[in-house]
Subunit: 172 residues, 2 copies
Amino acid sequence: MNPQLNFIFSRRSIRKFTQREIPEILLTDLLEAAMAAPSAVAKDPWHFIVLRNRASLDQLATILPNGKMLSGAAAALVVCGDLNQAHDQELSFLLQDLSAAVENILLAANALGLGACWLGIHPREERIAAVAQQFSLPENILPMAGIALGWPAQESPARTRYNPDCVHLEGW
Amino acid sequence: MNPQLNFIFSRRSIRKFTQREIPEILLTDLLEAAMAAPSAVAKDPWHFIVLRNRASLDQLATILPNGKMLSGAAAALVVCGDLNQAHDQELSFLLQDLSAAVENILLAANALGLGACWLGIHPREERIAAVAQQFSLPENILPMAGIALGWPAQESPARTRYNPDCVHLEGW
């Protein structure tokens, strides 16, 4: 693994956090990183809900099956998309744009010493409905993913899951 | 913009390249970075076609409307997904997984001094069909995006497209 790319290899899903708060400036850093992602035809169809309120985090933890750690997280982001604003109103482009933004947030969090974990919402209908209700989302706003955030209370080594079977030279 | 996150802010879409070749080791670096992305339930449903052959690059340039620069690119990656291998065979998860991998490639390329540009394939049916034919893709393999690669012949300043209207505190 090229050490120049350690900012990628050292990003791991972090599910255990200390009780320490996250300064607001770092959350802004994460949002600046998110909105530096490319988006199809630069439509930037994303929206971000910032959660620091304990009751909100606890409620989201009950909605997302793999999101129990939100109860111990200092903050969370819910990454949403506006289908009306996406390139040609295509769900595929929306998901691609939002996912690039999520990956930027995860890598930025890691670079700042924070831990983060991507929590799936879309395409699970029951999660979408519950999240939309919790945050009073307008009808055109689709929640795609949650991101748990906090100072890591676990260490995971840098790695890649590189698999040569997934690499095809010049064609299949 | 926090300078610790410059590896994100300095990534810009690069569409003009020099004639210089890309050493194979750097392409491997990009693939290691790609496969360090998170994927839903760690299904890693991705496949990557590596293009260095001039005729292949030229042919792909004719297929992708925004991919004319492939004719001047030293290499390209075509990022594909196996719907059968995706979590619950859900297209949404597949697109999210592949997009995180694409963003890793773009950031890794930038960190290595390369230029890169994300070229949309999915959900455009005519592009999917033409790419599947060019590379003899099996029926379950869906091409999502191309990535043009080369040494940059243009400079673009670091930036974010941060928009405070896209940030919502605790709810909509």
